[in-house]
Symmetry: D3
Subunit: 65 residues, 6 copies
């Protein structure tokens, strides 16, 4: 009964989200034999770039790498 949370930047289209969700769902069922897809939940958490950082630099800053 895996539950998958994806932490990501906001701004993706619903089509991109759907493709990601379907791919992840399939990846999970493929790796756990016998697990029906109905037992896989995938949930997306969107973040504005100014709430996300690496090395002390906000993802909204121009030189974020």
């Amino acid at each position: 009964m895996p539950i998958v949370f994806v932490e990501m930047w906001e701004g993706r289209t619903i089509e991109q989200k759907k493709k990601m969700i379907q791919g992840i769902t399939k990846a999970v069922t493929s790796s756990l034999p016998g697990l029906p897809p109905e037992h896989v939940q995938v949930i997306l958490r969107d973040y504005p770039k100014h709430n996300w950082s690496k090395a002390g630099k906000l993802a909204s800053e121009p030189d974020f790498a």
Copy 2:
């Protein structure tokens, strides 16, 4: 000092949220004797339905079950 996170769809009223929070708080203190309610935090995370899925289907799709 339990902290409870509820992952749920957006769209609930504040009254519904408050009732849920109070019920959960009481359920936690009832199961842990001696725990004062001041030590229970409940936090709600709201999601748009297109960020939530089961079996590769978005909760925003008409045939989501």
Copy 3:
């Protein structure tokens, strides 16, 4: 389809956990009319006290309040 995560100290018995889970499940269905209990998942995250802190003090320290 709420999913509830409870962050708590390790050491509770399975009986205590079950009572807490049942109470939270009921609190959630009571606050969201029409939601069947089958759509409520409650998951517990246990922590050793030395991984938990408030005011810079570990919960494993004798003067943690």
Copy 4:
């Protein structure tokens, strides 16, 4: 820079975990054109079945469905 958390029951082999991780990583890069795999992190959270529930029933109970 997506970060993926998978909440799942403990007991999977490292081979199963690795296969799942590789599948999820590929699913994420496939859905977000231009995203290099180095920017995808997948992290697994294992739970004992008695910490996981649905409909107020522990996953460790014989009639958990």
Copy 5:
């Protein structure tokens, strides 16, 4: 490769967020010798006050303490 999530009320300025992120990043690298700041990610999760509670009281209520 620590990843830090800060759960907090919405309403902070980007300057406050940046200062917090830089301070946390430095605190993490200071405590783990040899860890380069590029390996520290800090991500903020903002909540409206009516999604946050203690002792069954919403943080949006006037007598929340």
Copy 6:
């Protein structure tokens, strides 16, 4: 009332954890004027390296970078 979760590899000493927790607590109070340290909670989540990955490679593998 910020709550901070640090996702990290297992194996740190309690002294390292305490230093990290104290540094993060101070970083949070410094960035939010008027916030007393009693309102800052820091919680650590430890992971075995084989539950952590980047670019589809487990952190337990010799060539993980």
